[in-house]
């Protein structure tokens, strides 16, 4: 087997050194009844690289590739162009096949990268500090709710109706077990966000308000008034960003005084990958850092006085504090964080702002064009690169019909909010720098035909 270097000669010699008669002797502690002596049901024996590649390629061919068709899906995962050097660099064995940097003398590459990543993320989100990444945006979101509970010693979280429904689902799942009370509501197909309603709902039991920016329908709203009321009531404002490219064009939640800003970093460097692995972003005000979950990298010096980096404040973490840890999380999304950091370094401020402008202008043009289709109405006048249309009838079958024509037209709200009649005509359309004018025209024309 190509991945196993030992030869039978080696094995024999090693058994002799060990003083065992056979391999079976080494498994002597396994009770007879638990020994699997037969083959694994249905699994063939080892296969050549070529045949495995063919098998996997056959599976891959059964999927419609986003890049092959006019493509308009967003809602928490966005298709952006990732420069070739990003994937080249993350495949370097020194990154790909390294472990968590617990031995800092021989992990300065990963550690300095994490320090740079944390610094980039903190600046992007507008927070003082950021951690070394979480699993993804949805898990970062519920970790933030837990962090707010620990800081405020209150357990009622108010979730905006504009928060991604999967994020709400995850928070609901966790709240059942952690004792948090969640106030949730459904969005409406309307131009305005629920900021005013959130402000009205904050009371003395509120630990935090969780608001998505831009929200699930693509809407953006000033968070400053909400932050002010949260702080007056001694609650925290948690902002969720699922499209970090937006922060190249709009004011960040941290700049609007959000206490914790979490997000999904997939847009930068990572790719779609059918939902994972992604990279959760997690930033907060400095005063809360000791309640933060996850890994943190910090600057220090070595015995010769040279600058170096280490994982730090690990007394928050499970491997030190066990049942008293701030989270049970053990890992981060190291390689995805690296991809994010490299892509962000390639962009730089100028590139990010240019990219954001390109996304916004494309989306703005698309909203105008699609709103010209008879019966189609633009619901969200203020947005970044994602907007919501109201179709004259249920959107979900229309999305399926367009998929049959080779167009991936967006995400129907019926898919995200099954059974909610008031939302079923909604279609969320995302436009990025990868969307061409031809793609848009193809969609507009096909949509008009399907609706006719």
């Amino acid at each position: 087997m190509r991945y196993l270097p030992l030869t039978d000669t080696d094995r024999t010699a090693m058994l002799a050194t060990i003083g065992a008669a056979s391999i079976d002797d080494l498994f002597a502690d396994v009770p007879e009844a638990a020994r699997l002596d037969g083959p694994i049901h249905g699994l063939p024996n080892h296969a050549s690289e070529l045949s495995v590649e063919r098998h996997m390629a056959a599976l891959a061919r059964q999927n419609t590739v986003a890049g092959d068709v006019p493509f308009f899906l967003g809602c928490g995962a966005y298709r952006h162009h990732v420069p070739a050097s990003v994937d080249h660099l993350i495949q370097r064995g020194e990154y790909l096949t390294a472990y968590t940097p617990y031995q800092p003398e021989i992990a300065q590459g990963t550690l300095q990268m994490l320090f740079e990543f944390q610094s980039q993320v903190a600046r992007l989100l507008g927070t003082d500090v950021a951690n070394a990444s979480m699993y993804d945006g949805s898990t970062a979101c519920w970790e933030a709710i837990g962090m707010a509970r620990r800081i405020t010693r209150r357990s009622k979280a108010i979730l905006s109706s504009g928060l991604h429904p999967h994020y709400v689902s995850v928070a609901n799942t966790m709240a059942k077990y952690t004792g948090d009370t969640l106030e949730t509501s459904l969005p409406t197909l309307a131009a305005d966000t629920d900021i005013d309603a959130l402000i009205a709902a904050i009371d003395d039991d509120t630990s935090c308000v969780v608001v998505q920016y831009p929200d699930i329908l693509g809407r953006i709203a000033d968070l400053t008034p909400l932050a002010d009321v949260c702080h007056a009531k001694k609650a925290l404002l948690i902002a969720v960003v699922t499209e970090p490219v937006a922060l190249g064009a709009i004011t960040s939640p941290g700049e609007m005084d959000a206490d914790i800003v979490v997000g999904e970093g997939q847009s930068i460097g990572v790719g779609l990958q059918f939902g994972g692995p992604y990279v959760g972003l997690f930033g907060c005000k400095e005063k809360y850092v000791r309640q933060m979950p996850g890994r943190l990298c910090g600057e220090t010096v070595d015995a010769d006085g040279k600058r170096g980096f280490v994982l730090t404040l690990s007394t928050r973490e499970q491997h030190i504090r066990r049942e008293k840890a701030t989270s049970n999380i053990c890992t981060n999304s190291g390689l995805c964080a690296l991809a994010f950091s490299i892509h962000m370094t390639l962009l730089g401020e100028a590139g990010l702002r240019g990219l954001a402008e390109l996304n916004h202008a494309g989306a703005s043009a698309a909203a105008d064009r699609l709103a010209q289709v008879p019966g189609v109405e633009l619901v969200t006048p203020v947005f970044f690169n994602e907007f919501t249309l109201k179709l004259p009838r249920e959107a979900r079958p229309i999305v399926r019909e367009l998929a049959d024509r080779g167009i991936l037209a967006g995400v129907s709200l019926g898919r995200l909010y099954p059974g909610e009649d008031a939302l079923e005509n909604g279609l969320v359309v995302a436009v990025t720098e990868t969307t061409t004018a031809e793609d848009l025209e193809t969609l507009a024309t096909a949509l008009q035909e399907v609706l006719a």
């Binding site: 498994f27 249905g42 080892h46 996997m56 050097s85 990958q273 840890a325 370094t345 240019g354 494309g362």
Partner: protein, 519 residues
């Protein structure tokens, strides 16, 4: 043929770099210093070329950004060089043996990387209509089948993002099952002293009280003590098998039967599944839930700390409670997705969603390619070679380092040593740092807690005998230096990109982000 030096070329040890002159750059030939992007980049520099934005009205309202962000940029050549130079300050499996106990740092096959990057997997959106992603769902479904078969379990939850996330999934299944039975009052989870820290953290996170189970002198769970503690308030036992001392828990079936008899469930931490894959099925030992670290047993890359992937196999008793989403393959081969919409009909007892979307798809493709490459015979050989390699290390070094459980029988996939034989003034950390100068990443140190100054060595099956021999020689040499009172060891490493780092300073005055403005 005998002229070939099979032991590997070994240079004569020099005296180190004490006579080396300082350099103008601070570099030392191939050991290159690299500043941060904040010191070498500028906010005006970019390494991407973008098309001009089309003319369209701005719809950002009052929120258009006015203030600078402060993100440094580099041109493409500078970017490639920056990250390449940084990478060379990392140890990695591609460079040498990585003997981290409990972490299974095996070779990461590059076929898996190629497969994961096929556009049909890499460039697919999680919310595409189900008919357009049959191959992606097919990968999830096929991997699920093999994980169930390999573990002898009934079902599997694919969405957990990492091992600890998988633990949470399993514990939530247990909690949901207890609540369904009207026994939500069971509040205690028993965890062995030797468990990974994630186990108690997970149980506490889910609202349970954690109680420790002691270990016996031979490094296994004290079965009698555990059984004595079982009762109507115990929800579950979390047990690691093979355990973190590298030993197989012989009594696991007996423990499972006792736990089940008293109404509890058995959670198994599957971190060490590599030792038994293809040879032992946890389902045959009465396990109710076990996470599988795809980044350990199934070789998906650790990536310097994630992303991992932690699917959880479940017994028949717990399968109904598993999280959304999951796939269902129908008689005609078509695969559908059970999500919020269909959960009431198809999976009414599910405890809910753990994560947006479907889990770590990029890891599923890699793990599936790995499983198919090895096949049934290869996977069994993986376990055998992993165990053989660990025992070879144990028996080769037990005369040099204290091996507390050497008499407990063969070890499984990892060998454990303690600092018992080291003279005053020397400890495990010195052995670890000495190994760095020898060109190795240290073994896991100071874990598990049940062994004083633990050194946990897991060579994995992807090391050759020659590689093991050299490692054994290096570890013996470092241990002998400690035993001889060689004070130079106290300041190791000498040859790494950095000397010992001041972790106290880092924690006392945390500097977690670059503070200065960028040009």
């Amino acid at each position: 043929m005998n002229a070939i030096n099979q032991s590997g070329w070994r240079p004569e040890m020099g005296k180190g770099g004490d006579a080396a002159p300082a350099t103008f750059t601070g570099n030392r030939a191939l050991m290159l210093e690299e500043a941060t992007i904040f010191e070498i980049g500028s906010t005006a520099t970019t390494g991407v070329d973008l098309a001009d934005a089309p003319a369209a009205p701005s719809r950002l309202g009052s929120l258009a950004r006015s203030a600078p962000i402060g993100l440094p940029g580099l041109s493409e050549p500078e970017t490639v060089r920056h990250y390449t130079r940084l990478s060379r300050q990392n140890y990695a499996i591609d460079l040498g043996l990585f003997p981290l106990g409990s972490c299974t740092m095996k070779h990461n096959p590059r076929l898996n990387e190629r497969v994961a990057r096929m556009p049909g997997f890499a460039d697919v959106h999680p919310l595409q209509p189900v008919d357009t992603v049959q191959g992606a769902l097919g990968v999830i479904n096929e991997l699920a089948v093999w994980l169930i078969e390999l573990t002898g379990m009934h079902g599997v939850a694919m969405s957990p993002k990492a091992g600890a996330h998988g633990e949470l999934c399993g514990i939530l299944c247990i909690k949901a099952a207890l609540e369904k039975r009207g026994e939500g009052h069971r509040k205690v989870v028993l965890v062995p002293e030797s468990a990974h820290g994630t186990n108690p953290a997970t149980a506490a996170f889910a609202g349970f009280q954690v109680e420790d189970i002691p270990a016996t002198a031979e490094g296994r769970v004290d079965t009698a003590a555990l059984k004595a503690r079982l009762g109507p308030d115990v929800a579950a036992v979390m047990i690691t098998n093979p355990n973190t001392c590298g030993l197989f828990e012989r009594d696991l079936k007996e423990i499972s039967d006792a736990v089940h008899a008293t109404g509890g469930y058995v959670y198994c931490d599957g971190a060490n599944f590599n030792a038994i894959v293809g040879r032992v099925r946890p389902g045959d030992l009465g396990v109710d839930a076990m996470h599988i670290n795809l980044h350990k047993t199934f070789s998906t890359p650790h990536g310097g700390g994630g992303p991992g992937s932690g699917p959880v196999v479940l017994s028949e008793a717990l399968s109904p409670f598993g999280p959304l989403p999951f796939t269902e393959r129908h008689a005609d081969g078509h695969i559908t997705l059970v999500e919020e919409e269909t959960v009431e009909d198809r999976h009414p007892d599910s405890f809910g969603r753990m994560v947006a979307f479907h889990g770590q798809m990029g890891m599923f493709t890699r793990a599936l390619a790995y499983i198919l490459s090895h096949g049934a015979d290869g996977l069994r050989q993986v376990a055998e070679d992993a165990v053989l390699n660990a025992n070879y290390v144990l028996r080769s070094l037990e005369d040099t380092l204290d091996a507390p459980f050497a008499a407990s029988g063969p070890c499984m996939h990892e060998a454990i040593f303690s600092d018992a034989g080291l003279p005053d003034g020397f400890s495990t950390i010195d052995i670890a740092k000495g190994l760095i100068d020898e060109g190795y990443h240290p073994m896991t140190v100071y874990f598990p807690l049940v062994v004083h100054g633990a050194m946990l060595v897991e060579p994995t099956e992807t090391e050759s005998k020659a590689a093991l021999d050299q490692f054994i020689g290096a570890l013996r040499s470092v241990a002998e230096r400690a035993k001889a009172g060689d004070a130079s060891l106290k300041s190791a490493p000498y040859f790494a990109p950095r000397r010992r780092l001041d972790e106290t300073l880092a924690a006392r005055k945390p500097v977690l982000a670059w503070k200065d403005a960028v040009a």
